[in-house]
């Protein structure tokens, strides 16, 4: 699992294909991936159908994001003033390393031994857990899915459903192994068993934590609030019980007003899980005030850039509208076939194919924007109308300009383009190749295998041409006066 934070990145050009092949051969993974289709797609469609103004809402959401991105500096400053006014602090982190160091320092200042965490993709992006653990701080993930991948020692395979690659039997095995001190042979057969056990294990962590770290789905400039959406309530316990709450979020999470936040929340839940609203939508504004019965004594926000400012001034700016709903993953036939881990990138699927090269560099993600049939379903379901296929194509163009695609591929394209610009040559070649292939295929009408076409015929027959090309037949008919 590579991380965005640089360093030893193993996402070499071959590793995506190898990962994909492994994923396709993994029967358990394939069974788990059926849940994407069965669950998310149908639920989103139903939620959208029950909201006739969905498309209008989508236009509004997009406009809010575009406006905010056009004035991002102003809104970030306004947000910072509000947070400070509420008694909190804001820390700007240009890089992943800066963000890690800031969070560690805050934890150390708080004398923290145990940190609880709500689900946060940005904390995954900066590689926060290993950094804190290396400094002797215990980190407990409290989102059920995140808890499972933490005990498995792997990364999330989906941005809103981190363990969508697992079946409940896999999780039962993990719990039996990792939850020490519980009776051997206890029942972990049902989802209820698993949830009850996780709740009991995590309860101890919630009560003992010194610092709670959450991400943010939105940051509101008008109020200085951070917003999280969860379905388990773990985020609330994470940010309310410890004496320090650290929010870690990337800069594009900001929206101007509370009203804007509500517009985006309506799109987010429907697009992601197909809910009208998530079970918990929690607004946090500064530390506990005098007289509050609970809440953290300190409230810190770490604002991560890590390449976003650069995207803002680039042709990939539209990607900064992303609200991380996961709809593009759920509807992507490639993601549906191979799951998230095969991408070798924290952010998988179409959004990852655009974002990962921007954050980690195209050298670490060359296959990602390439491995798409451009079916366009991602753009269709994106609640922020991000033109994902077009943005993937822009990465392909950058890759091509740098001369990175393999020589054979570039040469083939060059020869083809040479002919495509010369109709007589093109039709001449077609006039030779089509009948030749038709003859080679014989009465069968198709090829089971064909030299130089093994990539196709390895798994699919190749239908043979009928014989003469259209243009040749058309010329013949015109000449003979049949047309």
């Amino acid at each position: 699992m590579s991380r965005m934070s640089g360093g030893s990145d193993d996402a070499s050009p071959q590793s995506f294909k190898e990962g994909a092949s492994r994923a396709l051969a993994d029967a358990k993974l394939q069974r788990a991936l059926l849940n994407v289709k069965r669950g998310f797609i149908a639920k989103r469609a139903l939620a959208k159908s029950k909201l006739p103004e969905f498309d209008q809402l989508r236009d509004e959401g997009r406009a809010i994001k575009d406006h905010t991105l056009a004035h991002l500096d102003l809104y970030l400053e306004a947000y910072e003033r509000k947070v400070i006014g509420c008694g909190g602090s804001v820390h700007f982190a240009p890089s992943a390393a800066d963000a890690r160091d800031i969070v560690l320092r805050l934890c150390q200042d708080a004398g923290a031994h145990l940190v609880t965490k709500g689900k946060s993709m940005v904390s995954e992006e900066i590689g926060l857990n290993p950094h804190l653990e290396a400094a002797g701080v215990e980190v407990a993930e409290t989102d059920l899915g995140e808890h499972i991948i933490q005990i498995r020692g792997e990364g999330p395979s989906h941005i809103i459903a981190p363990v969508i690659h697992l079946n409940k039997e896999d999780i039962a095995e993990d719990f039996a192994r990792a939850h020490r001190g519980l009776p051997q042979g206890r029942s972990l057969a049902t989802v209820q068993d698993l949830v009850a056990e996780a709740r009991a294990v995590l309860r101890e962590k919630f009560l003992g934590a010194d610092v709670g770290i959450t991400g943010a789905n939105l940051l509101i400039a008008e109020t200085g609030s951070s917003v999280i959406v969860t379905n388990e309530g773990n985020g609330d316990l994470t940010q309310t019980l410890p004496r320090m709450h650290i929010v870690i979020a990337s800069i594009e999470k900001i929206v101007p007003t509370l009203e804007d936040a509500c517009t985006i929340l309506r799109l987010l839940a429907r697009s992601g899980t197909g809910q009208e609203i998530t079970t918990y939508t929690t607004f946090a504004t500064g530390p506990a005030r005098a007289g509050d019965s609970d809440g953290p004594r300190q409230y810190h926000v770490v604002l991560l850039d890590n390449g976003r400012s650069e995207m803002l001034g680039s042709e990939f700016r539209d990607m900064l509208r992303c609200i991380r709903c996961g709809a593009c993953l759920n509807h992507c036939p490639v993601y549906g076939a191979i799951g998230g881990h095969a991408y070798g990138s924290l952010y998988p699927g179409p959004m990852g194919a655009v974002l990962t090269p921007a954050l980690a560099g195209i050298d670490h993600a060359r296959d990602l924007p390439s491995a798409s049939s451009f079916c366009g379903r991602c753009e269709e379901v994106c609640p922020m109308a991000i033109p994902l296929p077009s943005l993937m194509r822009k990465w392909r163009e950058r890759d091509f300009e740098r001369g990175d695609p393999p020589l054979a591929q570039r040469l083939a394209l060059k020869l083809w383009a040479f002919a495509a610009k010369r109709p007589r040559l093109y039709h001449g070649l077609g006039g030779v190749v089509a009948p030749l292939l038709a003859r080679l295929a014989g009465a069968q009408g198709r090829f089971r295998s064909l030299p130089f076409a093994g990539a196709w015929t390895g798994t699919r027959d190749l239908p043979a041409p009928e014989g003469k090309t259209f243009h040749e037949l058309y010329r013949e008919k015109t000449r003979s006066g049949m047309r």
Binding site: A371, S373, R460
Partner: protein
């Protein structure tokens, strides 16, 4: 009105964009398209200067070559009242992508936009522009229709082929599950990532088999070659045909990739 249009006595002059796959693999689709367009009252011409829409270059990131090819297509087809392709993918390239591709070319930007405005996928052109909603054809088969991605999502082609198919005698249309999901072809994608493309077309084949039909129709030859190739590899007795063949009443020849007589 163009001089050609005047010469066609008011009938719209259509330039047929044959597409490179139809040209090479299945010319009968091109002739079926001509028949349908003429039956619907159009005058059809096929410029010989056409080759391909440029998608292989465009989607491989070779913007320079894509532009060069796009300019040639504009030059070859701008004299027509309409440009029609028996493919949502190629028509989508002309309609949805040429204006962006040639936007910074001062001598072609406006011409690309003009071409885009008059470019159509075959079935939607027949129904929406020529108001031709009933064909004179029969096809005794139980069929399902696969919605090709570009046609469906870039051009919103969905009702037109179904409306036309409803007028074909003896034909029963059964919708398969996930008809709007990609078949995994994606041009070069199908050979650059063959394992993934295969997994996607396997799922498509499962849905086709489950629908119980004996024939799959679609408006794009790329998808059809891919689906037919998979069904053949699985030894399924299910035919694949371009929707134009059936609508034109020209579906008597062997189906895509099926055994045929030599001669």
């Amino acid at each position: 009105m163009t001089t050609e249009a005047a010469a066609t006595r008011g009938r719209p002059l259509v330039g047929l964009f044959v597409t490179c796959l139809v040209d090479l693999f299945r010319p009968s689709v091109g002739f079926a398209a001509i028949k349908l367009l003429e039956d619907a009252g159009a005058c059809v011409e096929v410029p010989e200067s056409q080759t391909c829409c440029g998608q292989p270059a465009y989607n491989s990131g070779d913007r320079g070559q894509a532009k060069a090819i796009a300019r040639r297509v504009v030059e070859s087809f701008e004299r027509f009242d309409y440009v029609v392709a028996p493919s949502g993918s190629c028509a989508g390239m002309l309609k949805a992508h040429y204006p962006e591709l040639l936007a910074d070319d001062p001598s072609f930007a406006a011409r690309a936009r003009a071409l885009a405005a008059k470019s159509y996928e075959l079935t939607s052109f027949l129904v929406e522009v020529l108001h031709f909603a009933a064909v004179d054809a029969s096809f005794a088969a139980s069929v399902t229709y696969h919605d090709s991605c570009s046609g469906l999502r870039e051009l919103k082609v969905r009702d037109a082929p179904r409306r036309l198919l409803a007028s074909v005698a003896d034909l029963t249309l059964t919708e398969m599950e996930e008809t709007e999901v990609c078949c995994g072809f994606g041009g070069a994608f199908s050979v650059k990532y063959p394992d993934i493309a295969n997994a996607i077309v396997e799922a498509k084949a499962r849905n086709i088999v489950k629908s119980g039909v004996n024939c799959v129709l679609a408006g794009d030859l790329g998808c059809l070659l891919h689906i037919a190739g998979k069904l053949a590899r699985e030894d399924r007795a299910i035919e694949c045909r371009h929707v134009a063949e059936v609508l034109a009443g020209m579906a008597e020849g062997p189906a895509i990739g099926h055994a045929r007589k030599i001669g």
